[in-house]
């Protein structure tokens, strides 16, 4: 391809990788994380002095804000984790018992596939993969026939991190509950961009990350655990409570938290949630859907391009994937950054089974994920860049 790869324009740096981590963050997120480290940095739950109490209050407020966002009555049922991967590990390894059978969708991320794969290879569990359509919709008829007497858990990726398809959560949860099966929802791509009413949907376990659409710093995330579900702790250690016992506390949230929490990160996360609350989830969703619609329509105009996923933007969240005929997506990503200052992600996006379902394995796709701070003009610049690249591919 005749392209000058060295003409880097770092000043432009248009960011289309919000499905990996959101950027920029609201200004208050940066300030709160810094303030927490500079002035308020007591170790939450320990020591007893005023800085510690301030850190504890901050963590409590963050838990309350998440509970309000997800419509959870009892904030103690939300535990903090490093990210969605960590939360999914806590859920899977804490919930599953030897002999259990698990159903998961083909859209799952490696954060689900790998823990399940290890448990399966170790002979602890058996699994069934729920296939999905080319548009990324799980096969609900297959689901009805997939339950076994030992099935204890259904794992659902709320939105594909490859093509953005949003799963029919309510139908799938109702189906699982009819069979007495619990449901773990991976909301890594949806928390903060789609309204998730945990109580109304009757979700059993929900893993989320703080650094994507919740607009917080990396190293934040968590897990909702419905009352009545007791997960075996993945980690044990200091909690600042019941210190005289060599037994991890049974009370939530400490039951599933050990060691010093990321108070600076959680201070930032709280501001991210506040920003979402002040802006309104509906407005965020509307903006991102409009961007996606425009992006998809203009990509579809180029006959050399295949766009994956549902046509209707309102049925999607986050990621949009495409390929250009007879090209290596890694090469296209490289040119987008080096010639146009556009940042995106290329490859398999840690979801190999999804690519097998879409016919994009092993080459992968070019993934574009605008965010709330992406402007219509940014989309136009991106489309013009892709048009130029497509023209170059035609020349060979």
């Amino acid at each position: 391809m005749n392209c000058n790869k060295d003409s880097v324009n770092h000043e432009l740096n248009l960011y289309f990788d919000n499905s990996a981590t959101s950027w920029p963050k609201p200004e208050a997120v940066y300030r709160a994380a810094e303030l927490q480290m500079r002035q308020m940095c007591g170790n939450p739950g320990r020591s007893g002095h005023t800085r510690m109490l301030e850190a504890d209050r901050l963590i409590y407020r963050t838990r309350e804000a998440l509970a309000a966002l997800f419509k959870v009555d009892d904030p103690s049922r939300i535990i903090f984790a490093l990210n969605a991967t960590d939360a999914l590990n806590i859920a899977l390894k804490g919930f599953l018992k030897t002999g259990d059978h698990v159903i998961f969708t083909a859209l799952e991320h490696n954060s689900v596939l790998r823990p399940l794969g290890t448990m399966r290879r170790n002979g602890l569990i058996t699994t069934t993969m729920l296939p999905c359509s080319l548009e990324g919709y799980p096969d609900l008829e297959f689901l009805e026939n997939a339950y076994q007497p030992q099935t204890s858990l259904l794992v659902i990726n709320h939105a594909s991190n490859v093509i953005g398809t949003v799963a029919p959560l309510r139908k799938m949860i109702e189906s699982a509950h009819k069979k007495g099966v619990k449901v773990l929802v991976d909301a890594a791509q949806t928390a903060g961009t789609i309204d998730i009413d945990i109580a109304d949907l009757d979700i059993d376990l929900l893993a989320f990350t703080g650094h994507k659409s919740l607009l917080g710093p990396t190293g934040t995330g968590g897990l909702y655990v419905k009352a009545g579900i007791d997960l075996k702790p993945l980690r044990e250690g200091g909690t600042g409570s019941q210190s005289e016992l060599d037994l991890h506390p049974k009370n939530m949230p400490e039951r599933l938290e050990a060691g010093t929490l990321n108070s600076a990160g959680l201070a930032g996360l709280l501001e991210g949630i506040n920003f979402i609350r002040e802006t309104g989830l509906d407005q965020i969703r509307e903006h991102e859907t409009a961007l996606r619609r425009s992006l998809r329509e203009q990509l579809m105009e180029m006959r050399q391009i295949t766009v994956y996923g549902p046509e209707e933007a309102a049925e999607c969240a986050g990621s949009l994937s495409f390929t250009i005929r007879d090209t290596d997506c890694g090469e296209i990503g490289y040119i987008l950054e080096n010639n146009f200052g556009i940042l995106c992600r290329t490859g398999l996006h840690c979801a190999p089974l999804a690519h097998q379902a879409f016919g994009t394995f092993p080459g992968g796709t070019i993934r574009l994920s605008p965010g709330f701070f992406t402007k219509a003009g940014d989309i136009q610049f991106l489309i013009n860049a892709i048009r130029e690249i497509v023209a170059l591919t035609e020349k060979g």
Partner: protein, 92 residues
């Protein structure tokens, strides 16, 4: 010599929840490190005047706040206090 009452909590989550709830209702209390004379836990306890304890306990119980134990301490400067754990019939 002063007499104070203390509430301990199973986790710091409930200690902060108690503080947050009581602050909204103008109860008089203070969050303090758990006195070593009542627990070796490194957490936070609620201290209040003993006549207020029963009201505080009821309010917290009505607002889904788990509490662990209740104590009355006779405190005299830096001397070890005289500790009495209060049973539920003493908290009415």
């Amino acid at each position: 010599m002063a007499t104070n009452c203390y509430v301990t909590f199973p986790t710091i989550f409930y200690a902060i929840r108690a503080e947050s709830l009581l602050k909204q209702k103008d109860f008089t209390f203070k969050m303090v490190p758990v006195p070593r004379s009542i627990s070796s836990s490194c957490g936070t306890a609620l201290r209040c005047a003993c006549p207020d304890l029963s009201k505080i306990r009821q309010y917290l119980a009505d607002h889904q706040t788990e509490m662990e134990s209740f104590y009355q301490l006779e405190e005299d400067g830096f001397k070890m206090p005289i500790v009495k754990e209060l049973q539920s019939d003493e908290l009415q």
